[in-house]
Amino acid sequence: MENILVIRELVKSFGSFLALDDFACDIPKGVTGLLGPNGAGKTTLIRAVLGILPFESGSIQFLDYELPKYILAAKDKIGYQPEADTKILKVSAMKYVTHMATMAGLSRNAAKQRAFDTLHYVGLGEARYRDMNDFSQGMMQKVKLATALVHDPELLILDEPTAGCDPGSHEQILNLISDLGSTHGKNILISTHLLHDVEKTASSVVIMNLGKMVIQGDLKSILRKKDKIINLQIRVNGGDINKFAKLLQENDFEITDVSETISCNIEREDDKKYLSIFNIARNNGMNIRMMTPYQQSLEEVFLAEIAKNQRDNNK
């Protein structure tokens, strides 16, 4: 089985507002990013998969389970990290995670042991007996992640897992996600606005807008420009950057922009051209400080796809 979730023609509305409009997508195994502007229906989709909100029509297939018929069995194999901060009065992290483990079907003793394990794994070992309500955002996110992991689910659904984190916790959580995805074979669905996070951890993405799927696929192929022509970013030492840009132009290089770096188009496989950049620099008393092909970021692809989608919708 290639896909962990197969969704077809999902429809969910709130009164007159259509949140999911015949939504369909395939979530493959591994780490997948779920992206979309606010209001695209990401949270509604997640809640439909988790059985928290019923949907009007369509089908969801999770592993062997057809939802909503086998939703209770499916819930046991899914771990959810909600976006909102979950707070229970006067409860330590350990108590909270243990309790939620029993809610997922573990016995009290197994729950305690699992809570202990997962809290240590996410890096909250020292703080596990502290009142959760005093936690910083970074710690809160880790507790929520531990809660999602405690019953060892096959699919983790993480909603904004790094929101509000200080940079240290941010990196730790991304490392945990990568570790879980690659070393421990967990399937992870990350819904987030921080596209950089997805770039770092995910192998595939699903982009949605206005309740419909816009594009889905392997992250590498979406990002890789298969063009023969690439755009180089260049910086030099020992000379003025504008002067160098002129020199390149005089040597038949196509310059597209000059600011702090020179942007220049070049054929990807043309080794002679790369070499001549170095030669031109040296011949003019300069050397190359940086020369790197411009990598299209996920954010650019995202913005372009959504813009295209808006245009198509307005027709």
Binding site: L50, G51, I52, D76, I78, I88, K90, G105, L106, T183
Partner: protein, 328 residues
Amino acid sequence: MKEEKDQTDSSPTEFLQKFTYRPFEGEFEPRWKRVLHLIRFELISTWRKSKFARLLMTITFVFSFFTIILSTLLTFVSGGAERDALNESVANYLSLSPFISSSSGGAFISVGSITGLGILLIMVIGIAGSGFFADDKQGKVIEIYLSRLGKREYVTGKVGAIVLYINILVLLPVFLKGLLFIQALGGNHFDYLDYYLGMVAYCLLISIIIGLFILVLSIFVEKRSYASLIFFIYFVFGSVIGEMIRIGTNSEILLLISPSNFLVLLAYVCLGDYDLGVGQGIFASVELNLDNGVGLEYWHVFLVAIILILFLTVALVYKIRKTTTEEL
């Protein structure tokens, strides 16, 4: 993990297991056990969540303890008034003040109906139960609960917890009081079977009614303090105003408006004692017969109880269904 097996022993003598995530290899419990865990958690949380609730609970436990002891000492009650005394102790346990008594006129002593315990208990129940749904809404944990439990399981856990809680506060002390009283009198417990059954039935009924009521309040309001306040005000002022209305109109049926009176009447009805008196003091009481075909009848009381249960259940189910995405 590197292992080298010893020739004579199959357990590994060397290994390396780095500290990282481990899968769970245990078994999952049957689903109904999760509801039990939820009940247990909610019960413990009543103690944990509010300092004031802890204080009140301690006071009520101490009071109950004394009244239970007291009941063993009141052996001078006699002459057929034991049953009346027992009934009265049950009926007045939650009342604000004993307006209704076991028969019109007659001298007897109320076993342990120390006035004031009723208010204390109502306060404790209100404070403990007000947070069952309200806290979850505020803390945004309903979502995570529902990602593991079905809606029915979640609600059953909450209802089970409050019903159990109220029974611990009411059924337990009342049961012990009756037990020790009868024991001290030297009576045969089996002669009092109808008393025991009626008392248990009453406690169960009111735990459901009061429990559902505080839960409905908890799920409709934003904060637990609003729920406990409304609960308390309704009981106290409802009883006072209800009583005033009844006195003003001198109607038997309107006895049911006052929550306190309703609880007392329900107790007597469950215990099978339909020959009552209403009014303050032995001399001022007026006859109230629940089985004379006139005015308030015992089946009115039952009917109201059932209607209440149905209404509150519907309200609860309705609100569960309609929990908005924000409230999750």
